[in-house]
Subunit: 357 residues, 2 copies
């Protein structure tokens, strides 16, 4: 089990035992789901939308997503989170001996998933000094005959940094030429402080987005994949023998979110920005690349694992950098609470970092 | 894709195009989720139980299930339906070249799942003339060194028949002796007309139950697995890299259901019985083994696939027997509607069977 989930289950376990932990360790913005979305869900429940449904998704939702992603509804499948979109894509694409290519720091679940299918993850380490921008040429060098997918999570978890446009363009063009699929994980795009334009679907791309972050629907488990019809068909088939369908009343909330996308995602974005400002104040003196999006900060520290343990002793959950690739001298804090809760918790994080020096 | 899901998606597709189909083809009891459960869900949503949560499940729900199944909460994992419980068990147990053993008629998804992992399904055909009771000795003969799991779905989809107690006992004892896991799928136990006693957890067993049928929560996707701690740990790990957690507000509805189990499952059971009576009247002259449980009838007919096509032409969705193993001379109807809707639809089914003679 990856360190990310070990830490997460450990904290859930501590909480079950009654220990109070300020969780800055999980990828949850910690925002209240907007009332328009919960109301759409409740109305759907009351209208009896509680039956088995299409493993691809409800027509209205697929149409709305298709229009947003610039494709046909046939190119879209609703999933229980963008995590499932990725898992299902990998499960139905990778064979034993294949590999995926991905820059780090990264969401290590990509590797966990690939390994599940006997495939390897070939990782390219990006550097703090380069604002976490990876070297396109070096990434291309990692691609071999067994490479099935290049994964770009943009903006990136855990750094909250966006890859430069030219860099993304270079990789996409290279991959299209080489007939290697590019999986674009845009789960944090809606809460980018720069722009919220989703990548339009094109051949050779598989794009996922999540309702977890920008729509504050983390625990609802709703997301989607836009990809070729062939990939969508494979995933629908997998959905049928696994979870069957995203509950229709959850799809109703997601649909309401998409219809009010501008207004709803702005709420999450503004809240993220407010927290980031509070965090930057609390963390004065800490080293990090300034986030372009979302609610993670990837802090430099002498020993991330030791610091994470010390944080937990102080009642704060954080995730060591080793959970995100070969980055032992970092740790990730999620700004998953209001500025009032964040400020004292981040003080403790700063203390913990100091104590590991 | 198995015939079951092909038919199902085909009908969803027809409906998206505006064609009206009376769906007697899916495993949905078609009952309204009891208000106490929807209210528990709505309260949880309003209380903000919408965040990421434990991949194993909420403590209260796990405790309640453990008490029902006679085990520790450590032996329980909440899943998005019993289907996921089975998929996850197979994914984390089977290697390429392994096999599962199962009597038929059966829910062919077991095979679809096993095949997904390069494992085979060794099937034993039970006979209509034997009230669908399989031959224990013949089932044992199918078990070899590569057999990892024997699956008993009891009461059984699609026949709605219960295996005789002595038969189940013989298989469980044999499997425990041979160290082969028995997977007991009890998704229809709560709506058995005979008794609703769940099999107690014991070493060598993995027991799943679903909230879909007895609690009328099909589209909610809620179920669980009771198994060894080791199996539970493996599945929690898989949950973390796939769908993360069953939404907490859905677990709240499930918990409310378990707390009122007797009262809630009685509603579904009585409705099933009422429909069965209506269906038996409408199907006078048809041949089938009288159901012990639930809402399926497995009807004898000269050519199940042809009859299913004819039914669809008449606006009624049913599933041919070939979807449930080597049973071409049967078809399954789900009594998924009120007696008023069922009666005319079943008339058409009877007509269709007649036309294939």
């Amino acid at each position: 089990m990856s360190i990310l989930y070990k830490m997460s289950e450990r904290i859930f376990e501590l909480e079950k035992q009654g220990v109070k932990v300020t969780r800055l360790n999980i990828g949850d913005p910690g925002l209240v789901t907007p009332e328009a979305l919960t109301e759409a869900c409740i109305s759907a429940i009351k209208a009896g939308k509680t039956k088995y449904a299409s493993a691809q998704g409800e027509k209205e939702l697929l149409d709305e997503i298709a229009s947003l992603q610039g494709c046909s509804a046939k190119n879209v499948v609703a999933t229980p989170g963008s995590k499932w979109a990725c898992f299902a894509l990998l499960q139905t694409t990778l064979n034993k001996g294949d590999n995926i290519v991905c820059p780090t720091p990264y969401w290590a679940t990509f590797s966990d998933m690939a390994n599940q299918f006997g495939a390897a993850a070939k990782l390219l380490k990006a550097e703090f000094e380069e604002r976490w921008q990876f070297d396109a040429e070096k990434l291309k060098e990692l691609v071999d005959k067994k490479t099935k997918i290049i994964i770009l999570n943009n903006p990136t978890n855990p750094t909250s940094v966006e890859y430069d446009d030219a860099l993304v363009k270079a990789i996409v063009e290279y991959a299209q030429d080489k007939k290697v699929l590019v999986f674009m994980d845009e789960a944090y795009r809606d809460i980018s402080f720069r722009h919220q334009n989703l990548t339009k679907y094109a051949e050779g791309l598989a794009i996922t987005n999540s309702f977890s972050k920008g729509y504050a629907m983390s625990g609802w488990r709703a997301g989607y994949l836009a990809a070729s019809e062939e990939i969508v068909k494979r995933i629908v088939k997998l959905n049928q023998i696994t979870f069957t369908n995203v509950p229709v009343f959850i799809q109703a909330a997601a649909l309401e979110g998409l219809k009010r996308r501008k207004e709803i995602t702005a709420i999450a974005r503004e809240e993220c920005l407010k927290r980031l400002k509070a965090a930057e104040k609390a963390l004065t003196g800490a080293e990090y690349v300034k986030p372009d999006a979302g609610f993670y900060m990837f802090l430099k520290c002498p020993d991330g694992e030791k610091a994470a343990e010390k944080c937990l002793e102080k009642g704060v959950g954080v995730t060591p950098g080793t959970a995100f690739g070969d980055h032992p001298d970092f740790l990730r804090v999620s700004l998953s609470h209001s500025p009032e809760v964040l400020a004292p918790a981040l003080e403790k994080v700063k203390e913990a970092i100091g104590e590991t020096k």
